[in-house]
Symmetry: C2
Subunit: 418 residues, 2 copies
C-alpha cells in the first residue's frame, strides 16, 4: 500500500462515460494498492469534508461504473475564483487534504476544473504541502484545449447522429400529409460541436439533416426560411438541427426569443427548437414538430460510442499513472496520430495550457453557406462515434446501471462556512 | 405463383418496428410466390394509383426493413369517412384494386385503418369483387381494442423507460447545485400508456420517475406542486413524466397553456413539459430542465424491444397467412397466455370488434394517488420492453438502415380527383 490517499472528484455537467473514467481511476489505484476517496458532489464535497470511501464498494460495482451514466459520486456547478478572491476556500481544500492525507488530487471536469486543479497545486507548493494535482478531461461540449477531443463528447455525438437519422426516417414517411419541418435542438452554448456531429447522420444534399445552425455563424432568419423552403420543395421535407447557442448578428440568443413572461405573468421558458418551429409555421405555413432531447443526449449510455468509452477509461488509468509518478499540474489528453485508420494515444499536457482556454470549431469545419459540415469535419468527427459498447441489460429489459453505497468517511474537521 | 396481387399499405404515425411487419409481409408472401405491391404514402397511394413494385427490391433490402425505423413506403394521416360520405373514394379503391388484380389488401395501422379495411371489404362484397381485407396492428399509443398490446408500443415504451432511468442518474448527480426538477414529456393524447411505461424505470418510492401525470386523471396543479416539493425535500430532486394529453378537470389541455400568440403576434407552440417546468420554477423556485423527445421516442429502432420486434414480425406473417386463407375482415392480434413466464400467440380477431374502438388504461393500473403505476401495470408492461435487438452498425458508428428504391408500377387508370 502506497502512503497517502488519492482523492477523486467529478465536476460540471455529467456525461454517459464520466463514470467509466471513475471506474478506471479506482481499479487502477486499487491495483497499485492506493486508497481512493471520492468527494461527494464534486469540489463541494472536498470543501465540506464530505468524502466517500470507495474501498467499501465491491469490485463488481466499481467495474459496473464503466457502463453507468450520470455521476456516481455526485457533481456540482461551482467555480472557484482566483486564489486571491477565493483564498479561504483554497486553504480549506488543503486543510481537508491534509486531514485525510490526500497526496493525489484528480479532478475530472472541463476548463474550470483544470483551472481549479492548477490553483490548488500552486497553493500546495506555496505551503510546502506535498500534493500532485491532475486534471482529468470530461465534457460533452468538446471545448477543452490541447486534447484532440473530450471524453463524453463522442457518446453525445453518437446519440445525436443516430437520433437525427432515426427521426428523419419518421419525418420522411409522414411528410406527404403531416410534418414537413422537424427541428432538433442540440446542446452547445458557445460551440456547435454536437450540432456538427448531427451532420454525420447523412451524406448527400438530400439526406437529413438538411440544415444545421451553428453558434459560430450569425443566425439570419430570412436566409434560414429560404433554405427551409428550398429544401421542402426539393426533398419533400426538411430536418433542421440547431445549436442551443445560435444568435443573431447583434448577439441576441434565438433561444431567448420565446422566453419571458406571458400575459398572466407566468414564466415562459425559451428554446431554440420551439421558437424556430413556430416561426417556420407562421411564415412558411408548414406543419412542424420539434424535439429538445436536453439531458437525454448526455446520459444516453445505452448508445455510447466505443471510441469514447475507450478514451474515458484510458484517461482515468493515465491520470492515476501520472499522479503516482508525481507529474503535478498535468492532464492526460488524447492525441490523434492518424485519421484513417483512426489512431490515438494518451499524452500529458500542462494544466496551464488548458485552464480557461476554450477550443472552438475550426472555421474549415463549416460549409461556406454555414448550413452544414465539411469533409474535414467529417474526418475529425466520424471516428469519435465509432463502435458500440452497450450496457448489460436485465431480464426486465432495462440497462443494469449501478448505484453505489457511497459510504461517508468520518469527518475530522470543524464545519466549513464558505 | 398464386393468382392475384397482395397490396400492403402503412397508415398513421410510423413506429420503430412497422417496417419489421412490412418485412415479414413481403418475405412471407414471396415464399408463397405471391406478388406484393405497396401503396406509396398509405391509402393515398392506393387512391392515386401510386403503387410500388416490391419485387424490384433485393431480398437483403426487404430483410433489412426488419431493423429500419420509419415507414419505408410512406404513410399518411388520412381517414376515410363512412361508406356513404366517402363513397367515391371507396369505389376508387376498388377500381385501383381491380386494375392491378389486387385480391388481398393488408392495411397496417390503428383503429382508423381497421375501420377503412372493414369498409373496403364490405363494398367489395356489395360489388361481388373477390377481395380479402386484413387489418395489421400498429401503434405506439397501445390503444387498439382486442389485442393485448400493439406492435410499436413496446419499443417506444422501452425508449421511455431507458431514457427516464438515464436522465434521472444525470439529475441525481447534479441536484445539489443545479437542476432539481426534471420534466419528461411522453406521447399519449388520450391514454397514458407511454407515461405508464416510464414507471418501469424505477421501483421504490425514491426511484425516478417520482411523479407520473396521466390523461386519465384530472391535473390538479396544487396537488402536483405539493408532491414535487415533498419529493425534492425527501430525495433531493424530482423526475416528472407527463403525458402530452393531461388536462384539468374542466377538460383544458395543460399543453395549450403556453400556446397562442406572443406580444409580436408570433405563434407560441404549446407543450406540457415546458409549461410544467416553468410553473414549478415560478412557484417553487427550483431550477428546472425538461425534455420533449417527440418523434425520437417512436423512431428509436436502436433501442427497440425484442418482444415488440418479434410481435411486429409475427403479425406480418400471420396477416399473409390469414389473407391467403381468405379470412376476410380480420386482424391478427396478440393474445397473452401467461404473465410469468410471459407467453403470447397470434390469433384472428374480427375487424368489426376493433374498428373505432379505443382501449384505455385499466383503472387498476394507476396508483390511488394518481402519480404512479401499480404492480398490475408493471406485470402487464414489463414483458413488452423485454429483450434487445439492436440494428447492425456500420464502420461509421451509425445503424445500417435501408432506404428502398420504391420503383413505381405503371399506372393503368385516369387520374383521380378526390
Amino acid at each position: 500500500m502506497a502512503n497517502g490517499t488519492l482523492l477523486y472528484a467529478q465536476s460540471g455537467g455529467v456525461t454517459a462515460v464520466i463514470n467509466a473514467t471513475a471506474s478506471a481511476v479506482i481499479t487502477t489505484a486499487r491495483a497499485r494498492r492506493v486508497k481512493v476517496l471520492a468527494a461527494r458532489n464534486g469540489i463541494l464535497g472536498a470543501l465540506r469534508e464530505d468524502l466517500i470511501d470507495t474501498s467499501k464498494e465491491p469490485l463488481a460495482s466499481i467495474r459496473a461504473l464503466a457502463h453507468t451514466p450520470g455521476g456516481a459520486f455526485g457533481s456540482c456547478r461551482v467555480k472557484l475564483k482566483s486564489l486571491e478572491a477565493d483564498r479561504a476556500r483554497y486553504e480549506r481544500l488543503l486543510e481537508v487534504f491534509r486531514a485525510h492525507d490526500v497526496r493525489w488530487f484528480l479532478y475530472n471536469g472541463g476548463n474550470d476544473s483544470a483551472d481549479t486543479a492548477l490553483k490548488v497545486s500552486r497553493l500546495a507548493a506555496e505551503y510546502g504541502y506535498p500534493l500532485t494535482c491532475i486534471g482529468v478531461p470530461k465534457t460533452i461540449d468538446n471545448d477543452l484545449a490541447v486534447t484532440d477531443c473530450c471524453p463524453g463528447f463522442g457518446s453525445a455525438a453518437k446519440y445525436t447522429a443516430v437520433s437525427v437519422r432515426e427521426c428523419a426516417l419518421d419525418v420522411a414517411a409522414m411528410a406527404d400529409t403531416s410534418t414537413k419541418v422537424f427541428v432538433y435542438e442540440a446542446m452547445g452554448r458557445h460551440a456547435g460541436w454536437l450540432a456538427a456531429a448531427a451532420g454525420l447522420a447523412g451524406q448527400g444534399p438530400n439526406d437529413a439533416p438538411h440544415i444545421i445552425l451553428f453558434p459560430e455563424r450569425p443566425f439570419d432568419e430570412a436566409m434560414f426560411f429560404a433554405e427551409v423552403k428550398k429544401t421542402v420543395e426539393r426533398v419533400g421535407y426538411c430536418v433542421v438541427v440547431a445549436s442551443e447557442g445560435i444568435h443573431t448578428a447583434d448577439g441576441t440568443f434565438v433561444a431567448d426569443a420565446g422566453a419571458g413572461k406571458d400575459a398572466f405573468g407566468h414564466t415562459q421558458l425559451g428554446g431554440v427548437a420551439s421558437h424556430l418551429a413556430a416561426r417556420v409555421k407562421d411564415t412558411l405555413g408548414y406543419k412542424v414538430h420539434w424535439t429538445l432531447p436536453d439531458y437525454l443526449q448526455r446520459s444516453a449510455r445505452h448508445i455510447a460510442s466505443k471510441t469514447d468509452l475507450d478514451q474515458a477509461l484510458a484517461v482515468g488509468k493515465a491520470a492515476v499513472d501520472y499522479a503516482l509518478k508525481g507529474m503535478n499540474a498535468t492532464m492526460p489528453v488524447i492525441q490523434r496520430t492518424a485519421d484513417a485508420p483512426y489512431r490515438w494515444k494518451i499524452v500529458p499536457a500542462n494544466l496551464e495550457d488548458i485552464a480557461n482556454h476554450e477550443k472552438t470549431m475550426p472555421a474549415g469545419f463549416l460549409r461556406k453557406d454555414g448550413f452544414g459540415i465539411t469533409a474535414a469535419a467529417r474526418r475529425y468527427l466520424e471516428p469519435l462515434i465509432r463502435g458500440e459498447s452497450p450496457p448489460p441489460y436485465g431480464r426486465d429489459g432495462l440497462p443494469k446501471y449501478v448505484v453505489l453505497k457511497n459510504v461517508a468517511v468520518k469527518k475530522k474537521l470543524a464545519k466549513f462556512e464558505g
